[in-house]
C-alpha cells in the first residue's frame, strides 16, 4: 500500500509541473506583456500611470529576462511565499482572492459529488435489477438527457421554472439580509434554501454517467454464481443484492471521481455565473474578459492542481478498498 501511494505521489510531480506550465502559458498568451495590460487598464480607468511602480513590477517579475527565467521566478514566488502576483482588476494580491473564493468552489463541488451519488446509486441499482423494465427505459432516457445537457442550461431552465411556479428567485448563496450577518441557524437555513438548486443541477448532470457505469457493473455482477449461491441459501432478495453485488459495483464509482471531478468543477464555474454564486466562476470569467491574466492563470493552476489531488485521493481510496488495484498489473488498471 505504501509503495502504491508513493508511486502515485511521484507521478503527481510531473503533472503538477505541467499544470504550472499550462497556467504560465495562459498568463503569457495575450499579446504584449502584462505590464502593457496593466498600463492599459489603468489608463482606461482614468488613473495615473506611475512609471516607477511599473518599473518595480518589471523587475519583480523579471520581464526583461527570457521566458524560462520568468517562469522560474513566477513558480518560485508561489512556492516560497504563496505569492501569485497581483490582480490588476481588483488591485489586490491574487492569493487573497483565491483564499476567499476557492474553498467555496471546492465545497460546492464536493457536495455536488456526494449528491450525485445519493441520486445515482439507488437509480443505478433499480436500473440494473429491473433491466428492460419501464423504469430502466425511463432512467436510460433521462440519463441520456442528463449526459447531453450542460449544467448551466439546466440551471437557467430550472431557475425559470422555480421562479414562474413559486415566484421565488434562487440566486446567490444568501438572501440579502443575511449577506453580512454572522453565521447562525437562520443564516444556515437561508443557505440551504439557495444552495439546493446548484447542487441539484450539478448532481443531475453528473449522475447521468454514474448511473450508466453502475448499471453496467451491476449487471455483470448479478450474473455471477455467488449471487445464485446467496439466493440458494435463502437470503432475502434485498440482502442478496445489497450485500454482495452492490458492494462490488460501488468500487468503480470511486474511480469515476477521476472524470466526475473535472466536469463538476468546470460545470460549477458556469453554473455559479448563471446563479450568481460568490465562487470562483464569476471572478475567473471577469478576469479572462479583462485579460487579468495573473488571476486567470492562478485559478487555472489552483483548480487543476486541486482536481489532480482529488483524483489522486480517490485512486488511493480505491486501492485501499480493492486489493486487485493495489497489486494489479498495468493491464488491469486500464
Amino acid at each position: 500500500m505504501g509503495h502504491f501511494i508513493l508511486r502515485r505521489l511521484l507521478m503527481l510531480v510531473p503533472f503538477l509541473f505541467l499544470v504550472s506550465a499550462l497556467a504560465f502559458i495562459v498568463i503569457q498568451l495575450p499579446p504584449g506583456s502584462f505590464i502593457d495590460t496593466y498600463r492599459r487598464n489603468l489608463e482606461a480607468q482614468g488613473g495615473t500611470v506611475n512609471e516607477a511602480q511599473l518599473k518595480a513590477l518589471e523587475v519583480r517579475y523579471g520581464l526583461d529576462k527570457p521566458v524560462i527565467v520568468q517562469y522560474a521566478i513566477w513558480t518560485w514566488n508561489i512556492l516560497s511565499r504563496g505569492d501569485f502576483g497581483n490582480s490588476f482588476r481588483y488591485q489586490r494580491p491574487v492569493a487573497d482572492i483565491l483564499w476567499e473564493r476557492v474553498p467555496r468552489t471546492v465545497g460546492i463541488s464536493l457536495l455536488a459529488i456526494v449528491f450525485t451519488w445519493i441520486i445515482a446509486i439507488p437509480l443505478g441499482i433499480i436500473s440494473a435489477i429491473k433491466q428492460y423494465s419501464i423504469w430502466d427505459y425511463v432512467l436510460t432516457f433521462l440519463s441520456f438527457i442528463g449526459l447531453s445537457v450542460p449544467a448551466f442550461l439546466l440551471a437557467i431552465v430550472l431557475m425559470y421554472v422555480v421562479f414562474t411556479q413559486t415566484g421565488w428567485l434562487v440566486t446567490g448563496l444568501y438572501s440579502p439580509q443575511f449577506q453580512n450577518a454572522p453565521m447562525s441557524v437562520a443564516k444556515f437555513v437561508d443557505l440551504l434554501k439557495n444552495i439546493w438548486l446548484p447542487l441539484l443541477v450539478l448532481a443531475v448532470t453528473g449522475a447521468a454517467g454514474t448511473i450508466r457505469v453502475l448499471r453496467a457493473t451491476l449487471l455483470d455482477e448479478l450474473q455471477k454464481p455467488y449471487v445464485t449461491t446467496a439466493r440458494a441459501k435463502g437470503l432475502p432478495e434485498w440482502r442478496v443484492i445489497l450485500k454482495y453485488p452492490v458492494r462490488l459495483a460501488i468500487n468503480p464509482m470511486i474511480s469515476t471521481i477521476g472524470w466526475l471531478l473535472p466536469a463538476v468543477v468546470g460545470g460549477e464555474l458556469v453554473v455559479s455565473k448563471v446563479l450568481n454564486l460568490p465562487t470562483v466562476g464569476p471572478i475567473i470569467l471577469e478576469a479572462t474578459l479583462a485579460q487579468d491574466m495573473f488571476l486567470a492563470g492562478a485559478f487555472v493552476l489552483i483548480l487543476s492542481a486541486l482536481t489532480l489531488i482529488g483524483t489522486l485521493i480517490s485512486d488511493i481510496c480505491l486501492a485501499w478498498l480493492d486489493p486487485r488495484i493495489r497489486y494489479g498489473c498495468a493491464a488491469h488498471a486500464q
Partner: protein, 408 residues
Amino acid sequence: MATADRPQMPKGTDRMQPTMVGESYTDRRSQELLKRYRGTRERRQKKAEQLAEASQYQLMLAQFKKHRIATVSLYLLVILYLMAIFASFVVPYDTLQRFDQFGYAKPSQLHIVDANGNVHLPFIYGRTSKLDKKTFKYTFEEDTSKQYPVRLFVTGKPYDLLGVIPMSRHLFGVEGDQPFFLLGADKLGRDLFSRIIYASRVSLFIGFAGVIISFVLGIILGGISGYFGGVVDTVIQRIIEFIMSIPQIPVWMALSAAIPKEWSGIQKFFAITLVLSFVGWTGLARVVRGKLISLREEDYVIAARISSAKPMQIIFRHLLPGVTSFLVVSITLAIPGMILGETTLSFLGLGITAPDVSWGSLLQDAQDINAIANYPWLLAPVFFVMLAVVLFNFIGDGLRDAADPYSR
C-alpha cells in the same frame, strides 16, 4: 441473421393436419401462431440470405436501421443541417433586420378562425405596439380587423442562396408589412427564429471543424502511441491523462481570453475551434491507440512489416482502415461535446460575439432572470442546443451497436 441457431420446433407441430383446423379455439389459435411464425421466419431467412454476402458497410447499415431512435435522429439531424445550410431561404428575415417598436415582441399567434367564426388558412392579426410611459415597456395589442395571411414561398428581401444564387423567395412569411415572429423577437425587435437558424450555422459546423482538427491530432498521436508503444506511448498517454484530468472549462476560458477582440467572426470561429480541439483530441487518440494495440500483432501487419513497409504506411494503410467504424462512432460522440463547448464559451461572452450569432451568444440574452421571466421565448435556443446534442448522442449510440455487427 439469427435464424440458424433458433431452436427448431418439434416436427409434429410443423406439419399439422388441415382437417383439425377450426374445430376449437386452441386449434385456430395454434394455426394462427404457426402462420405468423412461418411468416416472420421466412422474412428473416430472406433477410439473412441477402445479408450473407453483404459487405461490412451493408451489415452496419442494416444493423443501424434496426435502431429506430437512431434512424429517426439521423433524419432530424439532416433536416437541422439542411436548415442551417439553406438558412437564408428557410428564415423570413435577416439576422440583423430590426423591426422598430417590436422589441421583445411575443411570438406571433397563428389563427385559423377569425373573429366572425370563419375558417381561413393560417393568418396572424396585425399588432400595434404602445409604449408604456411608466415602465418603458412596449405592450402589444392584436388588431382583429386586419388579417395577414401566412404563406409558403413568399417574396421577401432578396438574398443569395449559398452565396451564389440570387433569390427573393423565403420558405414562409407573411404578406403585407406586418412582421411574423415565429419564436418572438429579441430586445431590438429582431426575429429570434431567423437568428437561431442562422446561429445554427456556427453552432452545428463548429462541431465538425473541431472534430476534424481533433481527429487529425488524435489519429497521428494515437497511432504513433499505439503502434510504437514503449517510451513514446508512455509519454503520450501521460499527456492525455493529464489533459483529461484537469477541468476543461477554466482552461477553455483562459485560452479563449487570448483571442484578440478585433478579430473577425471567421477568425474567431477558427480560434475557438482550436481551443476546443486542444482538449477534444485526447478521447479520439485513446480509441485509436486501444484498437491499434489489439491490431498490430495481427498476421497481415507482420506481413506488411516483413515486406519492409514504413511504419507510417502500416499505420495509415493497414491499421487505420480496420478501426474506421470505431472512429466514426467516437467522432459522432465527440461532436456534441464541441457544440456544447462553443455554446458555453459564447454564452459567457468569450466566444462568438455580435454581430455574429451562435446559439450560445443568443443565450446571453437569457442570462438575466428578469429577461427570462418576462420574455420566456428567449430560452428557445436552449431547446435547439439540447435537440442537436441529444440527436448526435442517439446516432452515436446506434452506430456503436452497428459498428460491431457480430457482437450479439
